[in-house]
Amino acid sequence: MKWNANALGRDIPESIDGRILKPFRGASPADQDGTGRARGGPVRPVPARGKPDKLAKHWDDLLDRMDVRSGETISFHHHLRDGDAVVNEVVERLAARGIRDLTIAPTALFPVHDRLVSFIESGVISKVEGSMNGAVGVACSRGKMRGVSVLRSHGGRQRAVQDGDLHIDAAFIAAPCADPFGNANGVLGKSACGPLTYPVPDSLCASRVAVITDTLTPFPCAPRSIVGGNVDAVLEVESIGDASKIVSGTTRLTRSPTQLLIADLTARFIETTGIMRDGFSFQAGAGGISLAAVVFLAERMRARGVKASFAHGGATGILVGLLEEGLLDAIVDLQSFDLEAVRSCRENNRHIESTPFDSYGPKAAACAASMLDVAILGATEIDLDFNVNVNTHSDGLLLHGIGGHTDAAASAACTIITVPSFRKRIPIIRERVTTVSCPGEVVDVIVTERGLSVNPRRPDLISRARAAGLPLVEIGDLMNDVRSITGIPDEPEFSDRIIALVEWRDGTVIDVIRQAL
């Protein structure tokens, strides 16, 4: 097999399973080909006059209509998170029909989907394209999938679907509220989840599209995030998932002293380097440190009378509180995490649903993330070149999807990675990350409980941070300080077999993941 080194020095095979691979050339190479606009969708037979008959009578009827064959690709979204019941149901029923060798293309997976491992082992599922977590990720790492999987960010997946690199034969869209025509939203119904936008690219480009709902309303369903004209079949079921696990009751601030320390330093950095000013914008996840950083940032905004133009990313009650207080002018949202966020998404026209193309599309004429002044993101590992790993743990096991991480990092004016300097005994900062998910050229600042480190590529931020008296540390010193506490870890063992590719947003391959022994 012939290998080519990519721009980060990682070796990429020339081809895998007949697909020619393009090695990563940099975060934004100048000579990219691009068609910014979404392409036309699948060809469908022209409907006869009169009302369409899309409503399936039961699961078997739906699956007959969807006509999934062995070897095809089926897709799902993850708005229902750990409360989802649809993915497992569809895969089980297809397996019972003797369908095998499927590629599944979820936007993310959760512990509830650990049951898919038995279908991986039996050959019903041969690979995953998109995102993998938990037991499915471990199964992939241990070489249990027949094919080579592909990991993509939200924006990267949207591009792949649009460009035809990821051809979806059947998209199964779980929808909290839908009509028999196929219009659907996520803000109404007993399993409401907030935005219903991850599956929008699937609805535009998949060969066949099904909507599965537990709250069927008469036509027309409003509001609509999925447009019925793109939908072939609809099924009403008793329940699409466990509401208590779809969104949490309320999102609480972390109590971990270390996380609070990191969050406080992050907010301090954002204020004192001048990023926080009237009309600025930010993105933060819903994890412990990010949420706390937003709360501390808001305190500083109040003290200085500063308002943000918008916040981007997943919404929580905390962000909604800031919107209603008037500290934020808008939330641009792809995923709601709690009941407050769902309510706000439904009621407030400044809480705006956004699709992967709107937020992260790499071939869009700019995306919402490119309007960001700062993005606060996490990592499993960081190296001395500021490359970031969000996919594997240091023992080599695939345990996380990329989400919007690399899209936000590549687009925002300032990318901050917030991490503890070690987790249990494992140092987060290494000489070389186990897997590159995001290149150092778009990673600007690392904030840990032992100080913050600024990428030498950003002398502007270094001088501002120094002038503000922030605790700056050299990333190499940080690595050594932590090693004196934890010891230097051994390297995990891998076989030669490649089990997954990590794609950059433009479809080039930024790294490969090998089977962990």
Binding site: R255, P257, T258, L260, L261, D264, R268, E271, T272, S394, D395, G396, F422, R423, K424, R425, I426, E449, R450, A468, G469, S484, I485, T486, G487, P489, D490, P492, E493, A516
Partner: protein
Amino acid sequence: MNVRKSDCLVGYAESDAPLSVRLDSSVGALFGRKIKAGAEATAAEYGVDRGELTIIDDGALDYVVSSRVEAALRRAGYKKATAYGKNSGGKTHDVRKRHSSAQPWRRSRLYLPGDQPDLLPNSGLFGADCLILDLEDSVPPSRKIEARILARRVLETHQDFFGNAEIVVRINPISGIWGKDDLWELSAVLPDAVLLPKCESSADIDALAAELNTLEAQSGREIGSTVILALVESARGVLLSLAIAAASPRVGALCFGAEDFSRDIGARRTKNGGEALYARQAVVLAAKASGVQALDSVYSDTDDDAGFTAYCEAARAMGFDGVGLVHPRQIASAHRSFDPGADEIDEAERIVASLAEAEVQGLGVASLDGKMIDAPVAARARLILETARSGASRSNGRKN
């Protein structure tokens, strides 16, 4: 018992077979080798070369693995063949040299449960004035051996964890079965201060001072260098607090323990603390009459920020110099209350300036705003300025 985060469970089984280590670790791929090597090295310290060690690990650091292996061997009846280690943790610890006043700041004393290793590596990052490794109330009887070995090993190899804080160990009561063993375990790595709980009379202080004299001499430390913080938490303790505070020049502070005190006198704890009012005032009086600090009890409701701030303000107003903390997020509030206020500092500066002026002019007496500055006022003003100066350089609070 389930293994806790950053900790490990160790069992030892006797046998004639050469020593083997069975390891089940969440970080086995990365640190399995090191963990086994550390376990074998610790066994060698005890001269153990037979039997089987079983370790269930969730990311424990080296010194934790060694501590838990050591505890398992000690419980199996083995004694340490090699001497206890001295401080190799990279930090020379002389908190008191940093201050010109006799006692260091103790605005905030943060309790660290003595058997929970996951809280230790970052404990010094939060800016608490004192960190208390607690071997007493937070450690159940079945874990006393594990906790004291862990305390010894962290003091041997990782004093860097504690930053600039005063390192304090709360041993078990000296009159009980564990207190002396706690002290002797730490003989080669005596902390800056020992917090003695359940003080009931000056005899308790005398007993502890005598032990410390012996241990300091043995380990070549300056006699008298280990400070005693006396914790009174009963009716008897409060009533005898003057004698307790004055019992030894080692005593640096008198602390009050509200929870045990209320239980001792059969009172009900109330939000405004009226049931302990006399006791707290008595502790302040006894402390100040003896020239030592007065330190108030902990405030357990970590969600009640407003309540805690009010508590600190009330304690400060009463004359306390600091409070106990159970969570680092309480540190900022505590420091705000126990730092001298801006108006106090301003006035102190003006007083000291007047005194300097008077001295230059050869006057016997200084005055400010028509009032004479007498000796107590002058001394307090100097203390405030000295306190403010060292506070600004040590504070971890936000200035930007």
